[in-house]
Symmetry: C2
């Protein structure tokens, strides 16, 4: 039997008899000949049939044929088919067309018919890029001596406070879906692993339904021991993002072109400004022509526009957040904190900072946030028995994917998004 | 400032002044001198102090000193300390000792005090190996053109049937925690991605509390299109496991030695027998001296012992399971199925098989399992619109880790295990 080749590689087999498998993407019947575009995981190839075919869109076929050059074929080659086997038929009542531009279909129809819309090459390419982001994230951190961890998503208490948690019936007990692996990644730094990362689901039971929120998302979490302060973390994140951008550029030229997107260079990432929270508000106020009391979504866009003009990249680290705007575990710096957000192309994609590592300081801090040691379960044990200075950050995978490709809604960057109204498919 | 070096590397710095950071693992005071074993992410190093120290176990310190050779020191080198900074003190009332063999402490005490027991080097090494398993799994599949996916763990309906599901309150609606990404990985094969893998949490609300079960575990899932039958999947898994074993052997000689473990060679994995379910029962019956009506945990151990004797590896693929023992989506083969389990060192670590990919066959099958198309939500849509022959398998990450290292309880291979009674820490 002839070995299967992929659609993208037919140009390497001119004159040869080849075998292809895939989906019928498009059919054009011209009487004497029919052109069928075959789609597989690598891309598409034009098949040529004499006369009509009885194939339907989205049917899965196996074909044998001879590769020929044809300037008019997409890619410059086509396959003259000698034999076709129908591997699986497709019903004719496709709820949405696969071979059209997804832009021509509304986002609700795309998400309601997710099983079908994921077949659209432009949509599938989003998740090829996402797979590379995950790969590059892990690759960079492993090369820097980080260990990958997998922590539980079922927790007895919420470290970020009790609001915004989904409840789970756990054999009659009430437990919660974790909002972040914060507790666990800090525990693993203190265990002596020192440098850890986790790629895992995070849950937010927040009712707002916006283009920037998901109720379930993938959090790319990093935590690192023996840091001096949060500047070490921003340096780490800059190196990490550079590596991710490089890998996306290397592997996904087609997807970037299809989405009209580019990724920043190492020089651009190195130029990301680091702005104090107060200064950021001032810049936003000045540009918007009205006083900014906090950095809202509009302010995030304004600050990135400023950074683009000033530094050549639409991104900014915002530092020095006030204590009351950050979780209790954030390392204080007078009334401010050793913490940061990273805004990228107008959207916050990271929150991070140094954490309180001294038990006495932590115990002192809890009442200021209305918390008690007992209420935090096992959390304080991490610090009672020797925990080095440390900190970390988390990148929202879907938001990073969205901003790299310039998608208008974060839900487009989730295979099966969960929002206020959507728990299917 | 002198750059920090790691404990494992001091032999490369003899005569030099170095800086080390880490935890006080052990203190031995001999009057004129004190020996302190410092632990960091790389291992341990002996520090020498003149006179007594006022350090306590598990305190986090930063020391400066000079490296000297000493045959009597662990590793052959030690650091004569000139300066010590206490980075974080540790309370003296450690609930369990860190510097003793975990075997001397019961599993319940180890799990109840997980924040502390994870500091024990032998326990931490389990998760260094686990991190490599995850890495090697993804690496092998990416090299074979698989795309990593991240699917939702919040589902409206259970594809495996409604039992054993944890319920979540989703804005007042009742949804479930996914038992597996089965639906989603099949959808992604059918999307045209063809070859996908997922590393994600899976949930089983099963009440039994045994050394082989977790209520939350990490599932290493694989799904592949355009297969001939389930033998392609066993071939893929053999290649995948070989790669994982190779990486563990390369990177974790110390951990393997500490646990008294070895990993199979490529030749051994290639020799794993493939036994029909009926033949397996016969072998078990013969060896146990009593009729085996099914392959229970004792039978799994017996079959692996047989494989060790016959083929030189304590592992076996069991194929040809009867239809009624497999989920509805399993591709039938008369009264049997194109499915398999992989037993490794006496424990099932994988279930897999070819899936039904034809819509008509699926619709025909549902009533035999008491199911309806409507009851399965969007599942049947995958097959209605053209889905190639495909199949896949899932490896339990904790079970694989357990069996590689020879741990007696799967909970030892979970950082923060969840069982019938345990949702903390």
């Amino acid at each position: 039997m002839i070995e299967r080749i992929l659609a993208a590689s037919i140009g390497q087999h001119v004159g040869a008899t080849v075998r292809l498998c895939g989906w019928v993407h498009r059919i054009r019947e011209l009487g004497a000949v029919s052109f069928v575009v075959l789609r597989d995981r690598s891309g598409v190839a034009q098949l040529v049939y004499s006369g009509r075919t009885d194939l339907g869109n989205e049917s899965v076929i196996l074909v044998t044929g001879t590769v020929a050059e044809n300037d008019k074929a997409p890619g410059g080659y086509e396959v003259q088919v000698s034999q076709t086997t129908l591997l699986a038929p497709a019903a004719a009542d496709l709820p949405i067309p696969v071979n059209q531009d997804p832009e021509s279909i509304g986002i609700d129809a795309l998400l309601d018919n997710r099983i079908i819309s994921l077949r659209m090459p432009k949509i599938r390419s989003i998740f090829a890029v996402q797979s590379t982001i995950v790969d590059a994230f892990a690759e960079y951190l492993r090369a820097n001596d980080f260990t990958e961890i997998k922590s539980s998503k079922l927790i007895g208490t919420g470290t970020e406070g009790g609001t915004g948690l989904f409840t789970v019936d756990y054999f009659g007990d009430r437990v919660y879906l974790a909002q972040s692996p914060q507790f666990y990644k800090q525990a693993m730094v203190a265990s002596g692993m020192e440098r850890v990362f986790e790629i895992g689901a995070a849950y937010r039971a927040e009712k707002h339904d916006t283009p920037r929120h998901l109720n379930e998302y993938v959090s790319l979490d990093v935590e690192m021991g023996f840091i001096t302060d949060h500047t070490d973390l921003m340096d780490l994140e800059a190196g990490l993002l550079t590596h991710i951008f490089d890998r996306v550029r290397e592997r996904h030229a087609d997807a970037l072109a299809e989405h009209g997107a580019t990724v920043p260079t190492a020089e651009q990432v190195a130029a990301i400004p680091r702005i104090d929270h107060d200064d950021a508000k001032e810049i936003i106020s000045r540009r918007a022509g009205k006083k900014a009391f906090e950095i809202n979504p509009e302010g995030e866009r304004e600050l990135c526009a400023w950074a683009q003009e000033e530094s050549g990249i639409a991104a900014a680290f915002v530092t020095g957040f006030p204590r009351k705007k950050r979780p209790f575990y954030t390392f204080p710096d007078d009334q401010k904190t050793r913490s940061f957000d990273l805004l990228f192309r107008g959207l916050e994609i990271t929150t991070g900072g140094q954490r309180i590592n001294e038990y006495a300081m932590l115990i002192d801090t809890l009442p200021k946030f209305g918390l008690t040691e007992e209420g935090l379960g096992d959390y304080c044990t991490i610090f009672k028995y020797g925990c080095p200075p440390h900190g970390g950050f988390a990148i929202g995978l879907e938001r990073l994917t969205q901003q790299i490709l310039g998608l208008s809604n974060v839900k487009e960057a989730s295979l099966f998004p969960r929002d206020r109204k959507r728990v299917r498919p």
